[in-house]
Subunit: 345 residues, 4 copies
């Protein structure tokens, strides 16, 4: 049984707390929040759970095996490092930290102390994203051509990070899991409509060594909510609409056939053939992603294995966010990513 | 009565021909196409219309007052200049020509000879786009924050131009009419999936002197057709979906209120207020855009006035396409547009 | 403070229990369920709440002021009557009881003992239905022409009632609140696809003294979920789609104008004019319906007033269900309803 | 080559005329319309075509082989009989005639004279309906459980027939082709909102000897346009949305499994199992239905075979319309259809 202490009982924290309380293999041992009224809620709903106002105290509690950090991103590094140094396993909200350097130090610390470090890239554990991973991995889609995502709504303007850290992070986490390669360069554009504020609209293009491209459009100031992703391949193409109650994943047998063996005198037009076939929406599991994720975390701790969304994945996501933000300040100036090369499980 | 000769009876030409034949004030005098079987069709449907295999001959026909050019973009300059030099008025398909220099020479020629030069930016004459123009002009939307458009489908791969010349041109024409300013810089990214082919996916960001941004996403290799535009303002926001049979324009009373007078000790979060009100879909006219456009063209010729979509508008659109394509070759490198400054009617 | 005892902790009971626990003015005093494992859940989530295996015992508990019955419809009469006879106020799930006679006896019992009797017609307390009520009441829609509803999905086949008792009951409750009159006759058709089972598809037409019609289509065996209602009026028409996350209510300025003063020689066609104007989606509250309902219940108990969804409304709904089921057995044979005449608040 | 004369150049006539002019095997010989301005249009678009003001004259023209009648339903019988008596083949708009008696006499006349009589049930020749027919015929759907259709919009109020003759006729024609049996009884309800007018809202339930049901909802006074059909089977279920630009047909692997061998002590609930699997949208042809239909007509005339939508199909559709209208006057009173028994090709 893994005893868990959760730091942060704000927007997402209650979901972590509920899942740790209900999942076999974990026990909700403690919750920490600086705000007394939040702890009062915890005490009402989870009598018998220890509560802390100070995270520094909680991470020293010897009865705790795993610390889960669900606080603003600017606090992740300090809290996460303290937990690791205290010998705890660590689950940290995404984005993992404020920059690649912080991430690298957390990865090192976990490795040195032989602790499991997982980043809460929740979408990776949804049935829809797992299905996309499967379709890429088993070759159903053929060569991957592009990933294109729109993630917009009238959203809460964050004050410590811009919109790509808040919303594009989901797509970067999904891409890290689904795409066959990691990007090697990024070009981003964006704008802030609040004086002195962070960018509230962002467009992020990623380049790869192969003939792929990825693009993410995020916006806190849109009149409608959209969560829509296209994943184009040479054999099939996927539309993933996360707002659909069922049929989140639709697979289209559509595309082009390029004739590679064309003699010089044939005109270009003849080289491309068009294919428009059936569409298919596979039935998806209905398991809650966070429950799947926590069972995977338990498994990693028990067997000493590396999580799908470990510290390295978290670091690669932050690498794109960090460089994307730099590119954004320079109106799309492309920036090379010191690519780490994808480590396939 | 204006006698019209149309060059090109391919995909779009038949629409021009039909509208010139039916609109009061114009008479379909001649059609030119290099392909005999296309001319045979014309003769069957429009008996009594002259037909030409050679456009050089047709533009010299003294009975013709106006030449309409509906051929691949690489031919627009030669045909258009010949028509103007022969003293004809000119309607030319979009994009106007292959580069800004060609456009400028066509504009000069028309001015010198006192002929009307119109570019067929058809969308500008649709009820939906005219409504957006009205909402911007009368202040209903407040300050404009952004224009964002997605225009994708499984489309015919063009062989003389890339996807932004084929699809983004529609948005640039709409923006030239609707937006209160013209862009001053562009950053574009894209990719070709056909060896030796033009880019079939493109992302185009445009920057302005004011706090606005514009983005257009075009794709010939998408599994689904999307024609969706967001126009965000400080007072209201518009969703324009051209595939909706009715309710193409939806106006949302949603947005943020930024408190400009904030004392230093208030936290940033408090500066932004959120507003989520009604949605409203105004009834739109059902007039065919091309008919409206041709009546406007007749009016310009009769009164010697400048068309809404004249040579200058066509040139500004080509300026963005030309520089966007350059930026695309350099992975998003931003390029300044030698901005011409918007001439308001 | 009203002390509440809830009978039945199955599908809907937990929502009642949570709302009684959280609403000001009520206190969750006791929960009853025949199944030990359900009571164990209650004890874990609501420590300090009394639990009962026997409802007969619970309704005799002197500390309880209000009994809420959330069990299969065939048990409502016995439990409800026992609670009223024990001097409790009563909230009973819909449909209120198995037939009009049972309903009438419950209404009488409550009146004699001066207790509040409310039927849990939850939809009546949703922001969308309240908006429809407002639009009818204030004349925005003009004369009401029709109510048409589709409520289908792949649903659990109930074993004590047919599909109209399970699904059409929602529409009958909404109509009782929204429509300006009560129906005077019913014709229903339906079918069972399970040997010996109740009808799993049903179509219910209701007739009125005025020129109105209402129709409800319900189905437990549909491949997709639909919750869509049309409310047509002479001035405006409403589309209510309960599955829309926002914009549940859309108001269309569409319809016909009938020219009443037509001389004999005018052809019929000229009598009807068509109107196609704007659409408008008003912003709706986001309050949870059950919370609104329970605050209304508290108010009725405290002030001795009659609930919007009192015993009489519940009885009229059951009258239609009972006679509709009879008509269904006779392939649509119309049946007059001994109409009670609408009592307007 | 079959020489065709078309009576009626109103709303639908131009589609017939264009298709007869373009289809191999037919030649547009003549068009008849009482209105001179309509004939002027024909002469402009189809020079060389004979025109008639009098249909009586046209049906006597010896150069004509086939007469197509596209006029109000009340005229079909007189025109159709005259054409048959003059020895012509006949294509008649739907509904075939005003009552079953007229239909029967037309069928007899065609049989006696050995002429082909086809009713223009256009939907039967669409790719979507042909796919549904295929799915029923090859057993993909299993036993058919129900057909349910909604066909509503703000439509032109007809003056000689009510809304079921105008709109439900499409569904009855589709059902006659797709369903494995013909209905044996009908119950219909409806209302007119125009003084002295025909019913503008109609609900039609049809009963079968097997455990099937069919229902059609039609409305001329709806704020939105809907064309949506459900076809439920024991193995699969279809949603057919005719307004979808692509994916008109979606096939759901959803339903129930009824356990037939249940011992007496098992509760009813256990007898029903639920199945929720994949959805699949097959690619459909894009051929124009009317072209397919006319090629079929040519084939029937050339080979002396019976059309899929012959006079008998037309008569069975009218039988339901005629009895449905009677039922409607009696608030849903069920009426038995003197069922003709389906003749399978």
């Amino acid at each position: 049984m893994i005893n868990v202490g959760v730091i942060g009982y704000g927007y997402w924290g209650p979901n972590l707390v509920r899942n740790f309380a209900e999942t076999d293999g974990t026990r909700l041992a403690a919750v920490c929040d600086a705000r007394a009224e939040r702890l009062a809620l915890v005490e009402k709903r989870y009598p018998g759970t220890k509560t802390f106002r100070s995270w520094q105290e909680m991470v020293q509690d010897p009865s705790i095996d795993l610390v889960a950090v669900s606080t603003p991103v600017s606090t992740h590094f300090d809290m996460g490092m303290a937990a690791l140094r205290a010998g705890k396993h660590l689950l940290v909200e995404k984005p993992m930290a404020m920059n690649v350097d912080q991430c690298a130090r957390m990865v090192d610390e976990a490795a040195r102390r032989n602790r499991v470090l997982m980043v809460d890239h929740t979408f990776v554990y949804t049935p829809a994203v797992r299905k996309m991973h499967e379709l890429v991995s088993d070759g159903s889609l053929g060569d991957i051509y592009y990933y294109d995502s729109v993630r917009i709504n009238l959203g809460l303007f964050q004050h410590d990070v811009n919109v790509i850290w808040d919303l594009a992070v989901h797509d970067l986490a999904i891409m890290d899991f689904v795409m066959p390669e990691r990007p090697v360069a990024v070009s981003a554009t964006g704008i802030s409509h609040v004086p002195g504020g962070n960018e509230n609209i962002g467009y992020l293009t990623m380049f790869f060594n192969s003939k792929m491209i990825a693009h993410v459009h995020v916006n806190w100031l849109a009149p409608v909510k959209v969560r829509s992703t296209l994943l184009g391949g040479s054999r099939k193409m996927v539309v993933y609409d996360d707002l659909e109650p069922s049929e989140k994943i639709k697979i289209y047998d559509r595309g082009i056939t390029v004739n590679p063996d064309t003699s010089a005198d044939k005109v270009y037009k003849l080289m491309v053939g068009y294919r428009s076939g059936d569409m298919w929406a596979p039935r998806l599991d209905t398991a809650e992603a966070l429950g799947v994720e926590i069972r995977h975390l338990v498994d990693c701790i028990e067997h000493g294995t590396r999580p799908i969304t470990g510290g390295e994945a978290g670091m690669e996501v932050v690498r794109i966010l960090e460089n994307g933000t730099r590119s954004m300040k320079e109106q799309g100036q492309p920036i090379e990513l010191a690519a780490a090369g994808k480590v396939t499980a």
